[in-house]
């Protein structure tokens, strides 16, 4: 919609030029959708010329201005973009399997993807933001340009800290998101539920089993902000009550449930028209267990044992040993 209070649109990427009444303009699909009656200037970063996707041995950098359409094309383009003398890194990254399901988790259609950006979705900070799901699940870090000309780096789950709330200071500009190769090399599992077909996510969970056996579960959409449960690799991982090693870093069913109990209080489940908190909670547990089962290493099905010894699975203290809740 028209924003009739806007007096000028300026092409700049310099946070030093920001002043109250300004908004950073990327794809525009959020600003122009909600409109504003207070903004005076739009600082347009769309012509910055930032490379949308940069592949290195260390991982993947997505510019804030990378459009969803470009991201969606990445798995195909990456596979075919073998540069002479370089290994085709993306082909060795199963984590990229998450890209398309996450894009398809947008309630917005493919037409919007031609404009909307990865950075814009993160900065909007909706609980159901699919780019939050994707980049938080893959240990993404955000590179932020500050108003004094500096740069700071924060984890995605420390950037998106509430329903529509980020940790960005006024004027700060999200420059890019980096996804480390270690996370991209992981096996992943994706689960999503919505109240309508192809609708906005009510619950979106992503699981990751890393090369080192570590297991990471990222809960988004169900909760007001992303919640990550990280289970250390097997050598330091959970053990069941009988002293038997579980499936690498992948927890037992009870261990996972206890970790969710500890990490997500009822008040953290999101409440809006896209799902009642009680449903989101139960679905979080349900999908988490599905993901756990899917990522269990082959031949390591200990469900029967853990069910018997479930009481012994609960460690003392605030959370299960070996788990660490991340996020703000």
């Amino acid at each position: 919609m028209d924003m009739n209070t806007i007096e000028s649109t300026i092409h700049t990427t310099d946070p030093g030029r920001w002043r109250p009444g300004d908004a950073w303009l990327a794809g525009g699909t959020v600003l122009f959708s909600y409109g504003s009656s207070v903004l005076r200037r739009l600082l347009d970063i769309s012509a910055a010329g930032w490379t949308s996707v940069t592949v290195t041995a260390d991982g993947l950098e997505l510019a804030a201005t990378c459009t969803i359409a470009e991201l969606y094309a990445l798995p195909e383009s990456a596979e075919t973009a073998e540069v002479a003398g370089q290994p085709n890194l993306p082909a060795t990254w199963p984590g990229l399997d998450l890209v398309r399901p996450c894009c398809d988790a947008f309630v917005a259609s493919f037409k919007i993807w031609n404009m909307s950006t990865v950075g814009g979705n993160l900065c909007t900070a909706l609980p159901a933001g699919p780019m939050t799901s994707l980049t938080a699940a893959l240990d993404g870090t955000a590179r932020i340009w500050t108003v004094d000309g500096g740069t700071r780096v924060v984890a995605v789950e420390e950037l998106v800290v509430g329903d529509g709330v980020t940790s960005l200071a006024p004027g700060e500009l999200l420059r890019s998101i980096t996804l480390p190769a270690a996370a991209l090399r992981a096996q992943t599992a994706f689960r999503r539920l919505s109240l309508s077909n192809l609708g906005r996510s009510g619950v979106l969970l992503i699981g990751r089993r890393d090369d080192d056996g570590g297991f990471v579960l990222t809960v988004t959409a169900a909760t007001k902000r992303p919640v990550k449960l990280r289970f250390a690799p097997s050598s330091t991982g959970l053990t069941d009550g009988g002293g038997m090693r579980d499936g690498g870093g992948v927890p037992t069913a009870d261990g996972l449930r206890a970790a969710l109990d500890a990490a997500i209080p009822q008040s953290l489940y999101h409440d809006d028209i896209h799902g009642l908190p009680a449903w989101r909670r139960d679905m979080t547990y349900r999908l988490a267990e599905e993901i756990r089962a899917e990522l269990l290493p082959p031949g390591n099905n200990l469900d029967g044992i853990t069910a018997i010894t479930s009481d012994g699975d609960r460690p003392a203290g605030n959370g299960p040993a070996g788990t660490r809740q991340e996020g703000a």
Binding site: I112, G202, I273
Partner: protein
């Protein structure tokens, strides 16, 4: 920027979106549905890629090539997708069509294979998407060489719709109204407050602001925004601008300026001093002694409010027979409370109006309305104007669904135009549509019903409370109508209704497709299912034993039947509809079994459910239409009718009826419509009357004209009139052919134009039936609901245009599925509407709506034109209870509140102990839940 091959030097404003810029450049085919990127009606191509122009910064299109729907065709002809949409008639109101076309035109074959995904960014409120799917896939439905009644005649406006040339309310080229002003409304932040003062000085200081209007400028005359043939049907409780505001969102003041932006700035600078008053939001609480009184200063008789001191607008208390005795004599009694939510019409074209003055200095209202004549009458009453000084016109209307049977914009732009003597426009935003227009009335329905084991219905008792919001527009009518046909469809000796329509400090409810019936039928049909379950009988068999049969009197709340509702034997189609639905479900069951897809797998529960509904074909107390049909110089005809076209397809029906009577083809009938200048009066397009009232008038006019033509030809030829036959181009007179052009010339020379008038008063009336059946699968672990089969049988009498009528039924089903599954206008604890955009109000998308099987009963109604009955509101009515009954059948759980969203289904199952809660989660406590053979029951079911 290059637009459709022409470069423009015009510069967009810095915060302007591409949509409004393109419209300013004359591309009026680019529509606003939501203005927030959700509906896709504004889709255009930028450098060949489809984008939503309402969220595309206009400045960013600089140097790019933009294509709008106006640029889709080439000099060689229409784009193939435009041809497809014409062949399949992939539209009704057509407001979404430009966006659909601009999206689908970019599809490759792979994209066409996944339309749920690729069309989910294009909302259509009318069609239910089947016709759109057929269009995208290239299926042709238009046909019928005769082009008369019974044929699949294409809508006359089709070419205009697919090329973007069809004009809707605001599609006025800038040059036509060069000094147009824009009006924006300051809306109340308080649910109930007295306006102590309004300081407009700052607002008037904004460059471009021309005037500010407040309650001091408004006429004292109270009226109702609801429009009925008789204005006495609704309470006079509303002013154009009032000094008391009664809901958050009510008009406080209007700012008129040279631009929308200046008007908005003026609104922001108004300073209002309010005295906040106590407010009440729940209708039951509003009736209690001591509750805040919302219209207490009004006289009950003068304002036609039943009991203002108790916030009761209208009430109904009736008992036929002895309900307590009927319940005592029952083997099974069902008692429960059902609730329906607020839903919004969500027509893609928002409310909008332009007031201006014509060359004769007459006030002209160009508006998006279902009721141009009634709006003229209301304006004349409010502003004290004679009818000849006001003209109301609408061209094409972008969807109605009852929402435009109200005067929500016309009065305020008329006030401004009359004061300023300049044209003034008001366009609602999508947010205003949610927060400041109208919704369906929420109903709370407490049911007590009894049955004997032999299947006899012994008692039906209802305690109904409807929430009409802050104003009583349609409150009496919706309450009375809701408690009418929903109950009259059942033979039962003992029936009791206590109903109250109640004011609260919330957004007003108003007319909505079904007009009270959809709410009541949800409760009645749910209760019938429970009674059947309670006595161990198949629900449809139980209904068969208790529905009205041929010749039965239909009683709801009065001891005598409505004297002008006549169900002639040949028009009774309820039995056929039940059989058609049951047979189709059985076939579907067998089909799935044979294909091995009848078991959706572990965790899924499968069930079937149905519901029946009845509707009077015309509203009570008269519904009037006049039509004129005239012969044109070229031998074609012109039909002038009053009713508006908003996707209901009545324009096509008028052309077909006239063509049939005059022995010609529909394409030779030009229809002029919805303009107070073209006929004397028309009650309007509501109450499903487009075909059965207005069509009856146009048919009568055409039949009369046919007689005149034959007589005229007989005089010219000297043949006996009984030897004259009218065909498409001429009259055959005993071997001599007189072309129609010649008849016209003779008549013109004689000064006696060949035209005839027809009228119909809407009485006597008939009834129409709809029966819906579903087979569903419910995932007990997630609450997901899959519709495996959807069937509706409709008793539409003789179907004038099967393709269109099917579309009406499909569209009604889709809209009803939205109301049954997703849609909910949420009003917060402080009375504010929290639902403001389509992302908070899920309209069914292509991905959500299954294809429904539609069947027509073979009936003919002597009261309707050529045997036709109404079929526009009624397909909506049986859908929600059929779905609830199917879920009940699948799960054993009775859901008593809408919408039946997945989260609520899951939680209902979980609380009944029936959900698959999975191994990863411990069972929840089951607080206060009774689980029995009939599942979750909130009230008490008793076996006597």
């Amino acid at each position: 920027m290059d637009i459709n091959g022409s470069s423009t030097d015009a510069q967009p404003r810095p915060g302007q979106c591409l949509r409004t810029f393109l419209r300013e450049q004359g591309n009026l085919g680019v529509k606003k549905g939501c203005d927030g990127g959700d509906c896709g009606a504004c889709t255009v191509h930028v450098d060949g890629k489809p984008v939503h122009s309402c969220i595309y910064p206009a400045v960013r299109a600089d140097g790019r090539q933009v294509t709008t729907v106006e640029g889709l065709a080439t000099p060689e002809g229409l784009h193939p997708m435009q041809e497809n949409f014409l062949a399949a008639q992939g539209f009704q109101c057509g407001f979404c069509t430009a966006g659909m076309l601009m999206t689908a035109a970019t599809f490759d074959e792979e994209q066409k294979r996944n339309l749920p995904r690729n069309l989910k960014g294009n909302l259509c409120r009318c069609t239910g998407y089947r016709a759109i799917e057929d269009a995208v896939r290239g299926v042709c439905h238009v046909g019928g060489d005769r082009q008369q009644a019974g044929d699949n005649v294409a809508a006359p406006a089709g070419l205009g719709v697919v090329t973007g040339a069809a004009r809707y309310t605001l599609d006025v080229p800038a040059g036509e109204l060069p000094d147009l002003l824009h009006l924006k409304v300051l809306r109340s932040p308080h649910a109930h407050a007295r306006i102590l003062s309004i300081d407009a000085a700052d607002a008037l200081g904004v460059p471009g602001v021309q005037a500010v209007f407040t309650h001091e400028d408004a006429p004292a005359q109270c009226f109702s925004t609801a429009q009925h043939e008789g204005y006495l049907d609704d309470p006079d409780d509303t002013r154009v601008l009032d000094d008391v505001v009664r809901f958050i969102g009510q008009r406080v003041a209007a700012v008129v300026a040279d631009s929308v932006g200046a008007a908005e700035e003026g609104v922001r600078r108004l300073r209002v001093d309010y005295q906040v008053l106590p407010a009440v939001f729940d209708p039951v609480a509003a009736m209690r002694p001591g509750a805040p009184v919302i219209h207490g200063e009004k006289d009950p008789l003068e304002s036609r409010i039943s009991r203002p001191e108790h916030n009761v607008v209208a009430e109904l208390h009736s008992e036929l027979g002895d309900v307590e005795a009927g319940l005592a004599g029952a083997d099974f009694v069902h008692e429960n409370t059902y609730r329906t939510q607020r839903v919004q019409h969500a027509a893609l074209e928002t409310h909008a109006a332009i007031a201006y003055f014509d060359a004769a200095d007459r006030l002209v209202l160009r508006t998006s309305t279902q009721v141009p004549f009634l709006t003229r009458r209301a304006l004349c009453r409010v502003f004290g104007l004679p009818p000849e000084e006001v003209r109301v016109i609408c061209e094409r209307v972008g969807g109605g669904f009852g929402g435009k049977q109200e005067m929500l914009t016309e009065d305020i732009v008329a006030l401004a135009a009359l004061k300023l003597k300049r044209p003034v426009q008001l366009e609602f935003t999508r947010e205003e549509q949610f927060t400041a227009a109208t919704t369906r009335h929420p109903f709370r329905i407490h049911v007590r019903a009894g049955a004997r084991r032999d299947g006899t219905l012994t008692a039906l008792s209802f305690d109904v409370v409807t929430n009409t919001g802050a104003y009583g527009n349609h409150a009496p009518g919706v309450m009375f109508h809701g408690c009418g046909e929903s109950i009259a469809i059942y033979r039962c000796a003992n029936k009791k209704v206590d109903a109250h329509a109640v004011y609260t400090n919330t957004v007003p409810a108003g007319a909505f497709r079904g007009y009270g019936l959809s709410q009541m039928i949800f409760a009645v049909e749910s209760a019938m299912d429970e009674l059947a379950a309670g006595i161990g009988m198949d629900p449809m068999e139980f209904r068969r034993r208790n529905i009205i049969a041929k010749g039965d009197v239909m009683l709801s709340t009065q001891p005598e039947p409505e004297e002008d509702v006549i169900l002639l034997p040949g028009s009774y189609g309820l039995d056929q509809c039940i059989a058609l639905t049951a047979d189709a479900l059985a076939r579907g069951r067998e089909r799935e079994r044979a294909a091995g897809v009848d078991d959706p797998g572990p965790g899924w529960l499968v069930g079937e459910g149905s519901a029946v509904s009845m509707i009077d074909t015309v509203p009570p107390r008269g519904h009037f239409a006049e039509a004129t049909v005239a012969l044109l110089p070229d031998g074609c005809y012109q039909a002038s009718v009053g009713t508006a076209e908003f996707g209901n397809g009545t324009t096509t029906v008028h052309a077909q009826l006239v063509a049939t009577a005059l022995g010609t083809t529909a394409d030779r009938v030009l229809v002029r419509q919805s303009d107070t200048d073209v006929v004397g009066h028309d009650s309007g397009a509501f109450g499903s009357t487009g075909t059965v009232v207005a069509g009856k008038a146009s048919l009568a006019a055409a039949e009369e004209l046919a007689c005149i033509l034959l007589k005229s030809a007989a005089v010219i030829s000297g043949a006996d009139v009984s030897d004259c036959r009218l065909d498409s181009g001429s009259v055959g007179c005993a071997g001599v052919r007189i072309p129609l052009e010649e008849l016209y010339r003779h008549a013109e020379a004689a000064g006696t134009p060949l035209l005839a008038q027809g009228r119909w008063g809407g009485s006597p009336r008939s009834v129409a039936f709809n029966v819906h059946g579903f087979r569903v699968a419910v995932n007990s672990g997630t609450g997901e609901l899959r519709i495996m089969q959807s069937v509706q049988a409709a008793d539409a009498g003789v179907v004038v245009n099967p393709m269109q009528c099917r579309g009406q039924v499909e569209g009604g089903i889709a809209q009803a599925m939205g109301a049954a599954l997703y849609e909910d206008v949420v009003v917060g604890a402080e009375g504010a509407v929290e639902t403001k955009i389509f992302r908070q109000y899920h309209l069914p998308t292509f991905a959500d709506v299954p294809r429904s099987e539609v069947y027509f009963a073979k009936t003919s109604d002597e009261l309707g034109p050529l045997g036709a009955k109404s079929m526009s509101e009624s397909p909506f009515n049986p859908v929600a209870p059929a779905l609830a009954n199917a879920i009940r059948n699948a799960t054993g759980v009775r859901f008593t509140e809408l919408p039946l969203a997945r989260d609520r289904i899951y939680l209902g199952l979980r609380d009944a102990g029936l959900a698959d809660v999975g191994s990863a989660q411990q069972m929840q406590a089951r607080d206060g839940v009774n689980v029995g053979t009939v599942g979750l029951v909130r009230a008490v079911d008793q076996i006597h």
